[in-house]
Symmetry: D2
């Protein structure tokens, strides 16, 4: 017996040409697209995986968005971290149910969303950004997918240090991350894990230099490449083009002197 969609659920509508829309089901709303209008009230109560038609008879497939879909639909005013990196970051920082994690800066909130998803209702994400506009955008993005209450958004400059202490997992996505290593180490638990994403090789060099002598050990630098294939069984081949770079990832463990 299939479980149908319900009022308040997140739903993803996918047109034949692949165009996707993520909405929260609300009987008073309608989804307007170039391929016609869909009334939410006609969608509520339908089984997931159903194909529905717009008022001008274009077909849309209705699915629950996965975490990946949600991340790719993050409304952004800044470069976001991609799912290929986020999956690995979650593993490397040991993010799981009940974990408390700190990140700076928040940006558009894509990684924040994934962290909030993974820590669950018992966990907590503390996310810092100096810019109020970014925090508002991230707040709306989190609100939209129902994860706002797992995140404490803090408009603070980490130059002055983090408010938390004894943090086991901390992630930096900042242009000058190497400047805040003292504050970062002070906020971290002994043995904690630090992660950072840096777009340029020069930043990686500078960050590694600053790590030395600051009670961090086991530095690891890597990059992740994701290549898609055209899913044609008779003509299997990679797509023509791919993302060549989003950033270098650096990880290190906080140690005692």
């Amino acid at each position: 017996m299939p479980e149908p969609s319900q009022l308040g659920d997140l739903a993803m509508l996918i047109a034949k040409n692949g165009k996707q829309f993520i909405i929260r089901l609300d009987p008073d709303l309608q989804l307007q697209t170039h391929r016609g209008v869909l009334q939410h009230e006609h969608l509520i109560g339908l089984p997931w995986g159903t194909t529905v038609a717009s008022h001008i008879d274009h077909e849309f497939l209705m699915l629950q968005p996965t975490l990946r879909d949600i991340l790719l639909h993050t409304k952004r005013q800044s470069q976001i971290i991609y799912p290929k990196e986020i999956g690995y970051i979650l593993l490397r920082l040991s993010i799981g149910p009940g974990v408390q994690v700190v990140e700076a800066g928040t940006g558009s909130g894509a990684l924040t969303t994934a962290l909030a998803w993974a820590v669950g209702p018992q966990g907590m994400v503390y996310s810092y950004d100096r810019r109020g506009d970014m925090l508002q955008l991230a707040g709306r993005n989190l609100e939209r997918v129902g994860l706002r209450e797992r995140v404490e958004l803090k408009q603070l400059d980490i130059e002055a240090g983090f408010t938390e202490q004894g943090i086991g997992s901390l992630f930096l996505d900042l242009p000058h991350a190497h400047r805040y290593l003292r504050q970062t180490r002070e906020a971290m638990a002994d043995g904690g894990i630090l992660g950072v994403i840096l777009p340029t090789a020069n930043q990686v060099s500078r960050f590694l230099s600053e790590l030395e002598g600051k009670l961090f050990a086991l530095p690891e630098v890597c990059e992740i490449m994701l290549r898609f294939y055209k899913p044609n069984p008779q003509r299997l081949r990679p797509t023509d083009r791919m993302v060549a770079h989003t950033g270098y990832l650096v990880f290190a463990r906080a140690v005692r002197g």
Copy 2:
């Protein structure tokens, strides 16, 4: 005030040459290495991130293992899926706290471990394998890291179908995954997500062929490459060699006719 290690905690000991050991702290045990012996009772109560010495004065760094560390230390009798793939699989299958997920086959249990970690105490992993010896190995691997109770290991041939129904997330790691698509679809909820890892391009073609006409949509094929760098700030460069391939990943959504 640093939180010290406790009896029963998982601990990772890392020698100067990078060799790693993961143990569960138990005052009656000792860790024997080529670089000397460490008594667990001397480790219990120390802050994480402390450097300790073996009886012949070799130094070891003591840390809590991350999920990545645990996965790489999975005792194996079969090829395991690597962290670079596992991170992305968790995102794509929307695995998070409280989720119920099915996998077949269990193998050595590396992915099983990650799934159990991510679903948390409120979730459940149902893992199928025909081979009792693999299930025993996976069971010991899960036991060792304290995740055994979140996994139901089932010695069943999925040829006869899955016992579960309405499953939202299902992963296949089987040589002939394409043969079980009927049983797989029957176990899945409408709108559910299917993932599979396949070592060869021929298997991907066959799998995609079989997907057609079986109430699956939005097939996606990809591969993930992870390249490490030597973490030397003055001489930043990739390592000389890297893993070229573990497997192709295929994902699809279960839809209604």
Copy 3:
């Protein structure tokens, strides 16, 4: 004493925005661009590496095109093989001064151009295509860069076999290359080298299957990825996107039974 450009030389003009034009210097002609007109007669006799101005004062850098530049400017009606593959193909097929090489099909003539360049005035390229329009296009492309006389263009279906015999280096760029292995082997010298480019994994499998039992040995399959970096010394990083795939390369040696 710098050697100046001469009448009849190939010249590349590069605008500030990176747009490139390759011309053959002829005092009766002019180059018309969106950034103004350049009279060839003003270019002839200038040293290479000089910056010149159009009639509306836009600057262009004048250089001799390299083989890479020429290949990328091949006028095309079909997918061309890229320099990243061509460089490796030349090495693998041992193309050098004086070599005789056969290719099928000609297509737009990009590989043909590189082969003609590399074999020099003492070598010869025999290039087959069933389509007269492609041969005409390739002919014009070769003419334009002064390599036409090193290539014999043949409008023949290789189904009926090649006219040459005892060929040491032979390259196939055909949709159904696996169908012509008998004819290919018959044209090749014992010990000769065969290369082929195939867009899909299915084609590679089929080609490898057909190679078996046909007096070929040492099959090698590979793909080449080229990633560019933004050449900013303070912000060194890969470009955002890259070519993910042009084709799989397969090589094999002709052997005796």
Copy 4:
């Protein structure tokens, strides 16, 4: 009528396990391997592509080595540039029959060999190295493959400048290549092409910095990845491991002020 091997030819003998030997055929010599002895005089006059047996009946396939084979068999005392890079370097530097090219340093002479091959008997390679032992090794490597007379080996420090002038193609493979840009530019023709291989990202940054303001334009930075596949038609898949890095390539054009 197959052309047989002749006295003085280079021959490659390949054992069943893939082990390769490159020799110059000489009736007075024998090839000694762990799989038995082969008398050259029994090889001379056989058609290429023939399978021969050692005195203890192990089989070897006899082929003419391709340029790739020769490069991979370069006897080395230093890191060599790989065929994947060399193919692209030849294209980018427009190396072809009759070209005069300069390189520094010579090292073990792998790139020198490829340059000498590609310029043909009408071209010339000028190769600089400070170390006499490297030049001797490179000289023997070139001698062994019959290309010695196309190369002028020069034991000079390029700190003092190159002896040549008006060079159109120049390649640097030196630890501190950025220090010699003045000397390099002085040796180059206006419009000439410079190439360099650099192992680390820091070196690339430094090199790009030094290029600025030194009459070079159009800098290009790239890296080339080559991935092999297991050539099994029923189980097509990449090899397990691959080379992750040999070096970054940088190219630029010499321009006038």
